[in-house]
């Protein structure tokens, strides 16, 4: 699958008639992880799409709270990496719980051995 985007560069502001693409930084990270794994051949976009449709359908079958598209996207991403045995669900949950338990203003990289230094912007 080709991900080549031969574009002429920022010829015009893409927000000209659109809103911001990502409301929060994590949405962009989730989007980009799916793109990177698809590019790496770990799954195809169509396969990811099936997981996304399923995640959206699960929410619509039992809607609660505000619908947030990228939460469904992240759910789809977690389900496909679990299915492909790339990252198991429990491992993912455990690390996320550890991150969630960090005190406010935590010092990245000091307490969590899993953590890799990346930009949280």
């Amino acid at each position: 699958m080709s991900l080549t985007l031969d574009i002429e560069g920022p010829a015009a502001p893409p927000r000209l008639n659109g809103e911001l693409v990502f409301d929060e930084p994590w949405e962009g990270r989730s989007f980009a992880m799916a793109a990177a794994l698809a590019e790496g051949g770990h799954f195809s976009w169509d396969e990811f799409r099936d997981h996304l449709i399923a995640a959206i359908a699960r929410w619509e079958a039992d809607p609660s709270g505000e619908y947030r598209y990228y939460e469904r996207w992240q759910e789809a991403l977690e389900s496909i990496v679990a299915e492909r045995e790339i990252v198991a669900g429990p491992e993912m949950d455990e690390l996320a719980a550890a991150y969630a338990a960090r005190p406010p203003g935590h010092d990245h990289g000091e307490n969590d051995h899993h953590h890799h230094d990346h930009d949280h912007s």
């Binding site: 893409p14 000209l16 989730s30 590019e39 809607p63 598209y69 899993h114 930009d119």
Partner: protein, 198 residues
């Protein structure tokens, strides 16, 4: 957020952070590569690509024919290709027919020409209502169509993504291709608006 329908679901920000750590550990993603993807879609790929395609079709009849016959190929000819752009079908508006695009199941959208979809396109209400009551919804979105105009709703799928070729506004005969492109909006290429002359 954490207390939505899935019990014990942690906020998405920590979930994405955890997943990125685990994928990085396995050598499957790199932070810089992710930054590159984000940057590309936030800054480089947007509806202006599609606007250039539309403006060329308005000014070059041969290109228009090619575009309607083979959307993907004609779009690639201008240098726009990539994920979600494998099968782009271009549908043309006329005095009698108005086309509008939706993805009822998720959010399929022709990324290479329109960038990533706006919030409303992904909204459950848009996805269901555009099929059920397109005229009403279009009117609510600011587009009133005459009763004798046929509305065609195109449901995107894994096989096909759609791009609407809007009507060229009147009084634009003197404009260059570049000036025309500046008139074309994302909403017009999804089919929820028309192109105005100003």
């Amino acid at each position: 957020m954490a207390d939505t329908n899935t019990t014990d679901r942690l906020p998405p920000a920590v979930r994405t952070e955890a997943l990125e750590s685990l994928l990085t550990e396995r050598g499957l993603v790199k932070s810089e590569v992710l930054d590159g993807f984000i940057n590309r879609f936030v800054n480089d790929v947007g509806p202006m690509n599609g606007a250039k395609v539309v403006a060329k079709a308005w000014t070059d009849p041969d290109y228009r024919q090619h575009l309607l016959a083979d959307g993907t190929g004609a779009i690639k000819e201008l240098g726009f290709a990539g994920p979600q752009g494998e099968h782009i079908v271009v549908v043309e508006n006329s005095d009698d027919v108005h086309n509008v695009v939706v993805c009822t199941l998720c959010s399929c959208y022709p990324w290479p020409v329109l960038g990533l979809p706006p919030e409303w396109y992904k909204d459950p209400a848009y996805r269901s209502r555009m099929v059920r009551e397109p005229r009403t919804l279009l009117s609510e979105m600011g587009l009133d169509l005459d009763d004798d105009v046929e509305v065609r709703v195109w449901d995107s799928s894994a096989e096909n993504r759609y791009l609407v070729l809007p009507q060229r506004p009147e009084g634009t005969d003197d404009l260059s291709e570049e000036e025309l492109a500046a008139l074309v909006t994302r909403d017009a290429m999804v089919g929820v608006a028309k192109v105005g002359a100003t």
